[in-house]
Symmetry: C2
Subunit: 326 residues, 2 copies
Amino acid sequence: MILPALNDIRSAHERIKPFVHQTPVMSSQQLNRIFGCELFFKCENFQKAGAFKFRGATNAVLLLSEEEKNRGVVTHSSGNHAAALSLAATMNGVKPYIVMPETAPEVKKKAVAGYGAEITFCRPTLEAREGTAHDIIEKTGAILIHPYDNFNVICGQGTAALELMDEIVDLEIIVAPVGGGGLISGTSTAVKGISEKIKVVAAEPLNANDAWKSFTTGVLTPSVNPGTIADGLLTSLSELTFSVIRKNVDHIFTVCEESIIECMLLIWERMKIIIESSSATVIAAVKENPEFFRGKRTGLIISGGNVDLRRLPFCQLPTANYYTKG
Amino acid sequence: MILPALNDIRSAHERIKPFVHQTPVMSSQQLNRIFGCELFFKCENFQKAGAFKFRGATNAVLLLSEEEKNRGVVTHSSGNHAAALSLAATMNGVKPYIVMPETAPEVKKKAVAGYGAEITFCRPTLEAREGTAHDIIEKTGAILIHPYDNFNVICGQGTAALELMDEIVDLEIIVAPVGGGGLISGTSTAVKGISEKIKVVAAEPLNANDAWKSFTTGVLTPSVNPGTIADGLLTSLSELTFSVIRKNVDHIFTVCEESIIECMLLIWERMKIIIESSSATVIAAVKENPEFFRGKRTGLIISGGNVDLRRLPFCQLPTANYYTKG
């Protein structure tokens, strides 16, 4: 299996640069005080289509041949990859076909439709999704762009870490969430390519801890019925992403649901930015492992900001206890 | 009555610069398409203590004599000014006394306490608030820093517009919300001092339209029982702010509650930033007056981002209809 290298990510960066936002890196003195370390937030919630996924999707679309572009692209997803691929495709004159479970939130259906995709709805099972995507490929010849089990997608995702390290020098740790593993694969490849000394940490919900299990046992172990509020992290690693992770990731820290919700709320309240629950796992990892992060210059990949604002987990929570002086 | 001039605002800017954030100016191609104009968001929601109020409070505190600083500062407020004054005071070694109605949201009480203020609670009437503040002044000699009826506060508030015009050239319109009038007074003074050609618009909730009434009749007319979700704009103009507004503001646009909530949600969803309802009035003004803003380079002062995330107005709203192509 050929794994991505730093040069592949650098090439991806040159390729996608005209299409993606170079998102800002934010910081907060209050949060640094709360967590006892220096945090740098790479804000992919401000990326086009609201998540880092637009980087990988754009790289994959740009690398299609002209003949492939004419056939269109297809994926099955109810989440950020569907929106990202739709936008990346239409921006480049490629037709996107998206398979979505009929149970997907209205806000996501509208977003994907708004980006110009042709949506086919199916029953909310993996079999139905794969079957429907297969039917579309049969009929149209469209190219399947997998959300993470795809070399070009992984290279695109790694460009966020590249920009972060370019802007903030002397980082000691970089943390990204892990679901299917596309983001952490790209991130860890970029980081270790630039410096072996920087520690790479993957943050994963305890309730969807297939990456942690696979990493600690050395055997790829998919999740069974994962259940977490971090709905972007329900997917399991592929052979490809597992291989990259084994090679490049130093630690996988699992985090509990309470920490995810608490940290999401904390970031909203203090930084006034909207991050999705999957992104909150990286802050939860810092919160749950204070010794590991103490005093360290830590980069956090904030993966996205797509949240259904009509269904928020903290409408009924008590007030947090983080208010501190000055 | 001596009104502030551009030079006063420039001096305030030099004075407060080491203490305040130079907040970013953000923009969104999606929102430009939706509204048919070029919008530049001056993000005071990222200001310290979460609102522009920190600028005015800091300027007022820094202009106290040493003897006055030793006596402390006092204000009665349940909102952003209380938090801002508390932080500005403690950062400069001055004791803040804050009078708050006992009915203020828990989150605001904790924020003000967290900034190091001594809080005195009172009944939720203006009389009780003024009476309690008066008692504190009698007892401690603390200096009253009014949230807007204060020359130095107004000069501090104007520095946000100064930074905006410095960063974005050729603006044609600048919009700020109006409540008591401190922000729009500072803003309009800065704008007209730099160019008479730039139109200054104040955005005001229809349900708290004392500024609009005063402006159109020429007679200062306080609100009677105003009721709006934009809880930072319930206050009425003072003689001072009314005088500045008559001199420098071109238009006051009133906006309805539905627009405020819709625009607040729109900004959260599209820009992934948290703005408070009072700030949403400026986008609502653009939305409700498309002819006026069409094609114009428009600066918007986003006043703050302090929202009780446990009580949001749009948890039950239907999905918006703004999703557009590409």
